[in-house]
């Protein structure tokens, strides 16, 4: 806990934009603010759903193909409702498909954690453990959101995320307390996921404003409970919490992404963009 606290105790300043690329960091108000907040939550779910889908036919066993696809499907379902509502509230009249398929990289507001390409299976379980531990606390808090659609999604999702978190937990326990090979690889995976953790619990301006208005929740307020679960799991798995990471990602909430994001979007969006308006 202490380790993480030191990394996220202050708001990270917005990183400077690359030369010649304008980044919109202005803060909207009212419905537009709610829409921006929903977009952040939706993009985390949508992009992680896309990554998890890549495991299908690549997981170590067929049961895992199904499990990861099912987790992906839950996240996609959350994203669809949140995107639809964001499009209604932001005044642009965009549909869930417009928002998923026709936004460019700089308009996506997800954290770096979810956009990272697949590593080995231990990497995925480390990522899922962290993300599901975060989402479990997030949605538990958002059942009381002043935005009724978000409260509805949260009440539904909190029960689904329980199963995601349980799935990752059981695997981390098994791999950590397994063979020396699986133990080492699970330990290495935990070390690799650490640089992406702080961003998840950082209080970005949109979340702060959304929390003020009763729509959202401060990410930093979720950290302690989420991390308690992660640490208990790591300990139960005979693993050790990695040292504080030497670097930490940031900028996802401002639309600044890592290199793999462009490739992910190319794959996710190319059919919709090649055949705009196509229907089954």
């Amino acid at each position: 806990m202490n380790r993480l606290e030191t990394t996220t105790s202050t708001n990270e300043p917005t990183p400077p934009a690359q030369a010649g690329v304008a980044v919109d960091t202005s803060l909207p108000t009212g419905d537009a603010l709610t829409a921006r907040y929903l977009l952040q939550l939706a993009d985390d779910a949508l992009i992680y759903a896309q990554r998890l889908g890549e495991w299908v036919a690549n997981a170590p066993q067929i049961e895992e193909d199904m499990a990861l696809a099912n987790v992906s499907l839950d996240l996609l379902g959350q994203a669809r409702v949140l995107l639809t509502r964001a499009g209604e509230l932001d005044g642009t009249g965009r549909t869930e498909d417009d928002l998923a398929y026709f936004r460019d990289e700089r308009e996506f507001r997800n954290v770096h954690l979810v956009e990272q390409p697949l590593g080995d299976f231990a990497d995925e379980m480390a990522r899922m453990l962290v993300f599901a531990a975060y989402q479990a606390q997030l949605y538990a808090a958002l059942v009381d959101s002043a935005e009724p659609t978000l409260a509805g999604v949260a009440a539904k999702a909190v029960k689904e995320v329980d199963y995601h978190r349980d799935h990752a937990t059981q695997w981390v326990l098994r791999l950590g307390d397994g063979t020396s090979e699986s133990h080492e690889r699970m330990q290495a995976a935990l070390t690799r996921v650490m640089p992406y953790v702080a961003e998840l619990f950082a209080d970005d301006p949109v979340s702060v404003a959304a929390a003020d208005s009763g729509v959202g929740v401060l990410p930093s307020s979720l950290q302690e409970a989420a991390w308690r679960h992660v640490e208990a799991t790591v300990e139960g798995a005979t693993l050790t919490m990695p040292d504080e990471p030497r670097h930490r990602t940031r900028g996802g909430r401002d639309g600044i992404h890592s290199r793999p994001m462009g490739y992910l979007l190319a794959e996710m969006q190319h059919v919709a963009r090649s055949h705009p308006g196509a229907t089954w």
Binding site: L76, E160, D166
Partner: protein, 185 residues
């Protein structure tokens, strides 16, 4: 909260006014629509039909459904099936989905649980709705589930996620048969 779901418009002119018998028949037809993934269950067995309102003057039938899982692909198929059941009665369908309160396996009917067991799927344990939105501990995968074939409680989990989001895969340690479990949610 309510969000509209696109459904095909009614074919032809709506018949109006609607007498009580037609209203009852169309409601029954809606409740009897089979689940596309587990056809032994009707929508009524699943407990996802929250409201049916027949407007006698306009011939419009408003149906409110609550999805089982956020991303369940059957949700859209079900909305389409419901709309078709209504148009078959010459009425105009309007299907909306309602997320809150969230669906729980506690809404499943007793008949639904029996049919699931007969179909070879262990029904969900009742009483989970009370846990509400509390975040659970680590014990989700150590449930005691009876084998739907021989009734033995000596069973083990093979996979936490089965062929659909709502199911897990288990194996009976007595009769050795693998079976699906409908997960409590």
């Amino acid at each position: 909260m309510v969000s509209a779901v696109d459904v095909a418009p009614a074919a032809g002119e709506a018949r109006s006014p609607v007498d009580d018998r037609l209203a009852a028949a169309v409601e029954q037809a809606i409740r009897d629509v089979p689940d596309p993934e587990i056809p032994v269950l009707t929508l009524d067995d699943l407990g996802i039909v929250r409201e049916v309102r027949v407007d006698a003057d306009s011939g419009t039938v408003d149906v409110t459904l609550t999805p089982t899982y956020s991303g369940c692909p059957a949700t859209e198929v079900i909305a389409g099936d419901v709309a078709r059941a209504i148009t078959r009665h010459g009425l105009r369908p309007r299907v909306v989905t309602r997320l809150a309160p969230p669906w729980t396996t506690d809404w499943m009917s007793e008949r639904g649980r029996i049919r699931l067991r007969e179909f070879g799927i262990a029904p969900p344990a009742p009483g989970v709705a009370t846990r509400g939105s509390r975040v659970q501990g680590l014990s989700l995968s150590v449930r005691q589930v009876a084998c739907p074939r021989c009734g033995s409680e000596s069973t083990e989990q093979i996979a936490r996620f089965g062929s659909t989001p709502c199911k897990a895969l288990r194996r009976c340690l007595d009769c050795r048969e693998p079976f699906d479990e409908f997960k409590p949610l």
